[in-house]
């Protein structure tokens, strides 16, 4: 997980009710939270809703945030919970929406990475495999953290990551390279 320095003063001010400070936290952390929600849900609208829900939930719970854990870690867990709590509702929407809608046009805008292919392949993965790949493979959760967040056994998390990687390899034609 990204362990970049955390703005402890801003966090403290926001916890005391300073909305301007909370907006600064939003500006700093929302791109990562939105990216996480986008990849977990595979839908732009759902990701927007989850991002909004996550920050509202964070505001309400900020007074109980324990400084022993990292704010970014805490916020990621809130976002994962928001996504998972919407999972049943998302299934119906998934059938009528392009699962990769809203994802970046290019995986690496500054580089030569293949556009959308990897994002589309990830979005098309089964839920369980996609969730683990996004949390562990992209956002740096440990298997224990991912298992805890997803409510599965650590072994299941490892198995799902393996499955996700196999499916991606096949979908992207990497076996032929």
């Amino acid at each position: 997980m990204d362990l970049s320095s955390e703005p402890s003063d801003t966090i403290a001010a926001a916890a005391a009710g300073d909305r301007a400070a909370f907006e600064r936290l939003y500006r700093q952390f929302s791109p990562r939270i939105y990216g996480l929600c986008l990849r977990l849900t595979g839908q732009r609208e759902a990701a927007e809703d989850c991002t909004q829900e996550s920050f509202v939930a964070a505001w309400r719970a900020l007074g109980r945030f324990e400084r022993r854990s990292r704010f970014s870690t805490w916020l990621h867990k809130i976002a994962v919970n928001c996504v998972l709590s919407r999972r049943k509702g998302l299934r119906a929407a998934y059938e009528v929406a392009e699962p990769w809608a809203g994802l970046p046009e290019r995986a690496d805008p500054a580089g030569a990475a293949p556009p959308l292919d990897i994002e589309r392949a990830i979005a098309a993965l089964p839920d369980g495999a996609r969730h683990v790949l996004v949390l562990v493979g992209i956002y740096g959760f440990s298997h224990a953290e991912a298992a805890g967040a997803l409510g599965v056994a650590e072994g299941t998390s490892k198995a799902q990551l393996h499955r996700a990687r196999q499916l991606l390899t096949s979908t992207l034609g990497l076996e032929e390279s």
Binding site: A47, P114, T169, L174
Partner: protein
């Protein structure tokens, strides 16, 4: 999966941007829903909550030591007429004082070991009561602390009641 394919996949995953800036309308949606201040459990209230739990345990322990089916008439009369919803109610204070007097008299008749355990339980309850009083002094508007404050009064009264009940009417040594 062989190493080469793994490396290719790792490179692709590594190339993904971790951050995606959300559309501009997301923050106004968040801001519109920020009502009040973040909820907080004050440290003093937390300490008080722990204290009240300890007081409850102490009272329960006393009950297990002293449980008895007999109920003295004087206590029945007090509990029937006094309202204990408000610990500062004069009726409550009067009933409590009377109960405490009887409690002290009966306590002196108990075995030293039993007496020590009951006094220890009472000390826990009174300590909790004092902790909550301090917390209320710092945060007098807290409804949580107010309820905890009342609870400790009830716990103390309950302990007196149990001792009096358990030692009535035959004064059997426990």
């Amino acid at each position: 999966m062989n190493d080469r394919r793994q490396e290719s996949l790792d490179k692709l995953i590594e190339s993904l941007p971790r951050e995606v800036v959300p559309p501009g309308h997301v923050w106004p949606g968040v801001a519109a829903r920020l009502s009040g201040r973040p909820r907080r459990m004050p440290p003093m209230a937390l300490a008080a909550a722990v204290a009240i739990a300890a007081a409850g345990l102490a009272s329960f322990f006393t009950w297990t030591v002293l449980q008895s089916p007999s109920v003295p008439r004087v206590i029945q009369g007090l509990t029937a007429t006094a309202s204990f919803d408000e610990p500062r109610d004069p009726k409550y204070v009067l009933a409590r004082d009377s109960m405490e007097k009887t409690f002290r008299e009966r306590l002196a008749l108990l075995e030293p070991a039993t007496r020590a355990k009951i006094e220890s339980s009472l000390a826990v309850i009174q300590s909790a009561h004092e902790d909550i009083r301090k917390a209320l002094a710092a945060d007098p508007q807290s409804p949580v602390l107010e309820r905890l404050w009342e609870s400790t009064w009830h716990e103390e009264f309950d302990l007196y009641d149990r001792v009096v009940q358990a030692t009535q009417p035959s004064m059997t040594r426990i």
